[in-house]
Structures are given as C-alpha cells and as structure tokens.
C-alpha cells in the first residue's frame, strides 16, 4: 500500500513536470518562429503596367532578387509566362539554380548569363547552357488586375505548379 502511494506521488510529480517541460519547449519553439512583422513583410506587390518590353526589372521579395521581364511580340511564348491581357511576362527568382549567383540579362541576345560558372538561360528562364540543373524558379504569385502579388498563391501559379513548370 505504502509503495503504491509512493508510485502515485512519483508519477504525479513526473507527469506535471513533463507537462511543464513540453509547455516550455513549445514556448521556445514559438520564440524562434519568424515574427508577425517579418511575415507581413513577406509579400511584394509589383505594378506590371509600367514595364517596358525587353527591359529587365529587378525587384526584391523576401530578401531575394526577382526578375520581371516584359516580353516583346517577337519573343517566344512559353507556358511559364505570366499572361495579363495580351502582355506576357517572365517572372522568376533571380538566382542561378546552380549555386545561387545572380545572372545578368543580355537584352540583345534575350538571354540570362551567369558570370560565376557560365550558365545561360533563355528569356523564359529555361536552361540553355549547364551547369544549372533546372530553370529559374518562379516564385508564388497572384495576379491582381495589373499588379502581381508575390508570396500569395493564385490560380495561375497553382496551374503552373501542377504542370511542374515552376522550377
């Protein structure tokens, strides 16, 4: 009888300590989470109506460079293009998929060239020359009239994602 009482006391103490421990771990995990202000800053709105054809605009989204390129009529259309009305745009995260350098846009050749290891992409972000293993990555976007909201997932992005086109 005495033994059972002691076991009960031990288990009660251990149980409450464990609950407290789990609670403390959860609090610590939450403390490490990105702050609401950081998350709120995770969306970038880009006005596409002011873009000029074949001129690369570099925006910033979640600390990464974002390429926005309005295609001219004679540039090849691609399933990866963001289409608004009759305009086609190439939108991608401007980091080479090889080792993360930022490629430069050569307007005359319609090519992205990476100075680090010689990778090349076409104006749709598809690989023309290795080492990059995959096309430039398309960030999650939502079309809002003439504007593009980066960080939100719209139906056009979902369609690309399902077709396996985003990277």
């Amino acid at each position: 009888m005495e033994k059972n009482r002691r076991d009960f006391m031990g288990m009660a103490l251990g149980g409450f300590a464990a609950i407290g421990g789990v609670g403390a771990l959860y609090a610590m995990k939450r403390t490490w989470d990105p702050l609401p202000s950081v998350k709120a800053a995770g969306f970038t709105t880009i006005d596409l109506s002011t873009m000029e054809p074949n001129k690369l605009v570099v925006e910033k989204w979640r600390g990464k460079p974002i390429f926005v390129l309005k295609k001219t009529a004679d540039m090849k259309a691609d399933d990866r293009d963001v289409v608004i009305g009759s305009d086609r745009f190439h939108v991608s995260i401007g980091l080479c998929t090889h080792l993360g350098c930022i490629p430069a846009y050569e307007g005359a050749e319609h090519k992205f060239k990476c100075a680090c290891h010689g990778g090349e992409f076409d104006a749709s972000g598809r690989v023309l020359k290795t080492p990059p293993p995959s096309p430039l990555v398309i960030p999650p976007f939502k079309i809002d009239g003439n504007k593009l909201v980066l960080g939100e997932t719209g139906p056009e992005y979902k369609k690309m994602q399902d077709a396996g086109l985003i990277a």
Binding site: V38, R62, G63, P65, L95, L99, G100, H117
Partner: protein
C-alpha cells in the same frame, strides 16, 4: 557531524581540507592522477586545446563589450569600432580569429593521434564519444561566430548552411525559415546566432570538457604501445621512491611540466601568427558588408570544414546531402566500426596502418579540392574520387579490423 579542528587557522590547508576535501581533490586530480611515461608530445594536445579555449574565452569577452548584434551596426562595430577605436581591439580580434582557426588544427591532430594509437577502444569509448561531442560543439561555435561580423561571407555561408536543413528534395523550407526566423538571414538570424555563440554553445562546450576529462580519469590516458598498465602497482613503486622502475608519473607536477613545455613552443607559433600572419584567418571577401542581392563569385567555408564541404559538392543535390550527412557522423561510430580487439599503434596493426594513412591523405585531398572553384573538371573528378574513397573507408575498416589477427602480448 564531521569533526572540525577548533585550532585550524581560517583558509589554512587543514581548515580547507576539513571543509572542501582539498587533499582528496589534489590527490584525485593532480598528485595521484597517474600518467604513463611511455608517451610523446602528441599527448600534450588536450592541454593545448584547453589553453586555446581559454584564450578564445578571454578575447571573446573583450570583443563582447563593443560588438553590436544588429544587421545595420554589426559590420562597423567589428571593422571600425573594435579595429580602429578600441584600445588593443585589434589584438582581441586577431587572437579570436587565429585561435578559432588554429584550435581546429589542434583538434584534428588530437583526433588523429587518438585514431593512430587506438585510444578510442576498449574502456575508452566514452572519451571518444565526448570528444566527438566537443568537435560538433566547436564546429557550431565556429560557424555561429563566423556570422557575427556580417560580411559577405558571413551572410552567404549563413544562407548556404541553413539551406542544407531543407534536406534537398524534401523541401523543408518551413524548417529553414524557422531556424532563420526570417525568409533570408536577417536581424532575427544574427541575434539568435549571437546568443548561441556567446552563451548556449560555450556553456555546452564547458560542460562537455568536464565530461571529457571525467571519462578519461578511470581508463587513464593511452600510451605509445597501447599497453595495459597496472596503475596501482606502478603508482606504489613511484610512491616508494622507485621512480625509475615505475611506468607512471603523477599528472602534477611532473606531466604538467612537460605539457607546459609543449605549450610554450605552441604559443610562440600561435602569437607569431596573431601578430604577423593573422590574415590567413581573415577572408578578404568578408571585409565587404553583407549584401543579399550580390553573391560572391565563389563561396567556400573556412579550411577546417572544406573536407566535408567537398563530400557534399561533387554529387547531385540529394545524394550529396546524404553523403555529407554520413561524413558528419561517421567518426562518432569509430569505436564500434573497429572490431579488432587490439589496442595498439597503427604501425603494429597491419592493414589498419594503410587504412589510417589513406584516411589522412584522403582528408587532405578533400580539403585541397574543396578550396578550388567547382568549374575545373580535373579537380572536380579528383574531389569526387576522394569523396567516394572517404565513404568506402567506413565499411573497409569494418572488414580490415575483423580479419586483423590478435596481437600476442606475452612477449
């Protein structure tokens, strides 16, 4: 209740012994902590590490008074305030930078001495395991410290290393963002790595050092022949005055005086580097402030991480990560992969000797290839071969140590 001598003078030896067991402590930790005579200068590496850690601690405390963990202020607080305004600020920074680099050189020597002489085997497994714990903690300490000056290499190394936690095709981006506290390394990231660097990891290191010393006390240090010494008999010989016949010496003052000799030579070299060649520990790329929109042409880690970086690099993303993961933990399992009962130096263990030197040469090759840009196909191929060899060395040791003949210890 214990007896206390009324006449003992406060803080006299007797007074202290009655209160904190001073004489017992002295015996256990110093005068009757027996060290074999049959050792060489490589046995002093542990004390060099303890001393270097002490230097890192002191210089770190000095730097802490002016460093600012803020993405807008960090770079200037190091490169302007500490380097040009703070009296002798440059000294602490160079001691800290050189110390962080050299401590890994000594760690590797210490580790490979242990492997060569079989000091991780029977009875000494916990010494090896706590030592590997220290290696991991020192690696984390070095990485977190490298973030603090918030230069280009800090930022991009932080980016690349935290990206590893997305686990390749598993795409655990949420985990990466959780570790950073942001989508990219930013203020939250710098502050938490600052906390890790100045508090949590040093606490862990100090705890692990105590554990490492503790695991060493009962098995005692190994010796050049891996001989199993009867410490009681040998200690009795020493105490009875037959010091020549005894196989052991007391840790303090005899062994410690030899330790101090090696340490003196080491510190001449150390401070030569601090005063005249500190630049080898200061990457020029890191003297550009962090810029998230400009990647340095070639990102590489400090020299002591190059071998594992090179195991990551030559493979495709997922295979590279798996290989890297295996390489990171491989050494931990050494006492259990090595199936041979022989506790002996490598030159008495047949094939193991070849295995050991292949390991050393392979790790040096990986280190050299890891520093080179990934574009040269010849070096990339050499790196790939070296990485494959490294991964095969584990299974090879298992087989080699199984067929190794037990040594005849009678003669």
């Amino acid at each position: 209740m214990a007896h206390f001598d009324e006449n003992a003078k406060p803080f006299s030896e007797k007074w202290l012994d009655e209160r904190i067991g001073l004489n017992t402590l002295k015996k256990v930790l110093n005068t009757e902590y027996w060290i074999p005579k049959n050792i060489n200068f490589l046995w002093a590496m542990g004390m060099l590490l303890a001393a270097t850690f002490g230097l890192l601690l002191v210089s770190g405390i000095m730097l802490l008074m002016y460093y600012k963990p803020d993405t807008n202020l960090a770079f200037d607080s190091v490169n302007y305030t500490i380097m040009s305004e703070v009296g002798y600020g440059w000294l602490w920074r160079h001691i800290h930078g050189v110390g962080a680099s050299i401590v890994f050189l000594i760690i590797y020597i210490h580790m490979f001495t242990g492997i060569y002489y079989g000091s991780y085997k029977r009875g000494r497994e916990l010494i090896w395991l706590s030592g590997m714990g220290l290696f991991v903690a020192f690696s984390a300490e070095a990485f977190s410290g490298y973030m603090l000056p918030w230069g280009q290499m800090s930022y991009w190394a932080g980016m690349v290393i935290t990206n590893l936690f997305s686990m390749g095709s598993l795409e655990l981006n949420g985990l990466v963002e959780w570790i950073r506290g942001d989508y990219v390394p930013g203020d939250a990231f710098l502050n938490r790595f600052f906390m890790l660097h100045v508090l949590l990891i040093p606490l862990a290191i100090i705890g692990l050092i105590v554990l490492h010393f503790g695991t060493l006390r009962l098995p005692h240090v190994n010796n050049q022949e891996g001989e199993e010494i009867d410490f009681e008999t040998s200690a009795a010989l020493w105490k009875s005055g037959k010091r020549k016949e005894s196989k052991v010496i007391p840790f303090s003052p005899v062994f410690l005086s030899k330790d101090l000799f090696v340490m003196s030579i080491y510190f001449i070299l150390f401070f030569y580097l601090v005063f005249y060649h500190f630049e080898f520990a200061m990457d020029p790329v890191n003297f550009d402030p962090a810029d998230g929109l400009k990647t340095p042409a070639h990102i590489y880690p400090e020299w002591y991480f190059l071998w594992s970086y090179e195991i990551l690099r030559p493979f495709s993303k997922d295979i590279g990560l798996i290989a890297f993961g295996i390489a990171q933990v491989a050494f931990v399992f050494l006492p259990f992969i090595d199936r041979s009962p022989n506790v002996a130096p490598a030159h008495k263990r047949g094939l193991f000797k070849i295995w050991f030197w292949v390991l050393v040469v392979d790790m040096i090759t990986l280190t050299a290839m890891g520093k080179l840009p990934p574009t040269n196909p010849t070096f990339a191929t050499i790196g790939l071969i070296a990485a494959v060899i490294f991964l095969l060395l584990g299974p090879a040791l298992f087989v080699i140590s199984r067929i190794e003949k037990p040594l005849n210890r009678g003669a």
